[in-house]
Symmetry: C2
Subunit: 346 residues, 2 copies
């Protein structure tokens, strides 16, 4: 189990043993999944999730445009609701910034966040602001879903087919580029440089302005097509491990089937010789925010009607064991170690 998951388990244990109200009937799903599910008393359940986005941990204030920080912090928080199949409605923003960031930086940050809120059709309902030595953003997103339809991480069953909703590793490619471009592109003004720059800018988008799978999540949950679901925020290897642990199952993944980013032929030139392994990025790269979900074989045929069906890829199947295995084409197999993003790894 990764360190962050262990920490979450420890927090959960402390509160379970300390609380009088151990069986809260309105709390349909508590900590450990992508989001909490609370009965509203009406025909819909509420789905709530919170997400931290911190300078020096999740982004670098000197490298990442403020507009991207605002956009991405809201999008990634909302992805946790997409992962339950919920419709996002509102968000609360806790914003702690140094006084030096209350000028242009804040305007650009808000521009990015307003743009994300508009595209997600989600409304700012409240928040808290204070100063801080580093930029610290925490967002709580509130959404709705028909009672009992939320898709958890724990419903995967042996024989289910494992799907991802799109290409993996694109965000890491963008990140690597951003970190290297800083050195490479500065000062270039010629026509060729501008063309290269446009190519590079396009490759940066998945890292700076990620898209999330809200419509697909809603579709899958509404029709009960997915037995388990989560979003891939920390990397397939880490997140699939979490889904399997929550479901008490194992998995068999075929690396050839994993849809991976194409590293452009000129990439190495453009970045001063940086070489990247597309499969490694697809298996372990974080922040793609694609959905990872499992489907019973009898439901597979119905997926044709799903939003973005052409992007959905079956990458393997759920097994009875507890281990997550990578099946190479030559028949050899190896453990898929969780090597995605883990903030507490040494």
């Amino acid at each position: 189990m990764d360190r962050e998951s262990k920490l979450v388990e420890r927090i959960g244990r402390a509160f379970r043993s300390g609380s009088r109200r151990t069986h809260d009937t309105a709390l349909r799903l508590g900590i450990g999944d992508d989001a909490a599910v609370i009965s509203s008393g009406g025909k819909d359940d509420w789905v709530l999730s919170c997400d931290a986005f911190l300078e020096g941990v999740h982004f670098l204030a000197k490298t990442h445009p403020a507009d991207s920080v605002g956009y991405k912090s809201l999008v990634r928080a909302t992805s946790d609701l997409a992962a339950m199949g919920a419709t996002p409605r509102y968000f609360l923003l806790t914003l702690a910034i140094p006084a030096s960031r209350t000028g242009v930086w804040l305007d650009e940050f808000l521009n990015g966040m307003v743009r994300a809120a508009r595209s997600l059709e989600i409304v700012l309902a409240g928040g808290d602001t204070t100063k801080s030595s580093v930029i610290s953003i925490s967002i709580t997103v509130v959404g709705e879903i028909a009672r009992g339809h939320a898709v958890t991480r724990s419903g995967a069953r042996p024989g289910n087919i494992i799907y991802v909703s799109g290409t993996l590793g694109r965000a890491q490619l963008g990140l690597e580029l951003l970190l290297h471009r800083k050195i490479k592109v500065r000062g270039h003004r010629g026509g060729r440089a501008r063309h290269s720059d446009r190519v590079l800018q396009r490759l940066l988008q998945p890292h700076l302005y990620p898209k999330i799978q809200v419509a697909l999540g809603i579709w899958l949950a509404k029709r009960r097509m997915a037995s388990a679901m989560m979003d891939i925020s920390d990397g397939l290897s880490t997140d699939l491990g979490r889904l399997c642990a929550a479901s008490g199952v194992g998995a068999r993944i075929f690396p050839d089937l994993v849809p991976r980013v194409t590293v452009p032929a000129k990439f190495s030139n453009l970045t001063g010789g940086l070489k990247l392994d597309a499969l490694k990025m697809a298996l372990h790269g974080g922040e793609d925010y694609e959905l990872l979900f499992t489907v019973s074989p009898r439901n597979v045929k119905h997926l044709r009607a799903a939003p973005g069906f052409s992007q959905l890829k079956a990458i393997g199947e759920v097994t009875r064991g507890k281990s997550v295995m990578l099946m190479d084409k030559d028949g050899t197999k190896q453990h898929l170690e969780p090597r995605g993003w883990d903030p507490f790894r040494g």
Copy 2:
């Protein structure tokens, strides 16, 4: 207007002008009040608020026990719901800590928070954990209130009587003591010192383990006794200014009526000569989490049945103007400047 309020207004403006869904009928109350109010579709509304509690801004990791940090961060977040008259139910915890804090510090922090959750009868529903260079806590509290009963800051009317729910300045007295005790008490082991230490420890409690007014808030909201309400987190002078601005009214406060902390006779000795002004602490000291509320004269007689009635004090009245005035006993008056806690003040 204080700087933090200006910042909140700026954020609100950015989202109002940028959003297509300007009139969300389910969002009964958006940003700018203590908490957001959202219709659940059922007979109750949901009330949500979030609150940041940061190392180096709101507490000092070397001075404040981890147990107090856990306890207080949840209590102060929940106070925003008390300020609406809501019943707190759930909370989400965003916890960002250095790896060095994941041992004993985290255990003690969780102990304190579990104790607060138990006393508030509130359940951990979810959260997010990550690493950070400094301890950064953000808590979202979710509560319920009968539809339309939430008490906002904006309902105060000229002629209403202004109340506070208890003694002000106690938290600041505790803080001053804590900051000075560090120097003074260290190394004392004698019998007399132990007695002094017990006295000091008692005085520290309101700062380290504040109590909040959930029962009173619920009582006032249920009977529609308060025309406006908020909790005093940043100091009476700052928070009363906010309530008056939200209501479009002024106020007249009689300093003799403001219930203030008693500075013990030995205090100056115990702290190596520190001298404190009880009225200044009552007017400008933050973190008391008492309720500040306004009552129509015809409802005043009903307050006798309120929980903690003997502690309720009328301190002045709402006026037609826009200014908040302090009326001295000799008949002179002066503006009550907002001199409470403002994170963005230079």
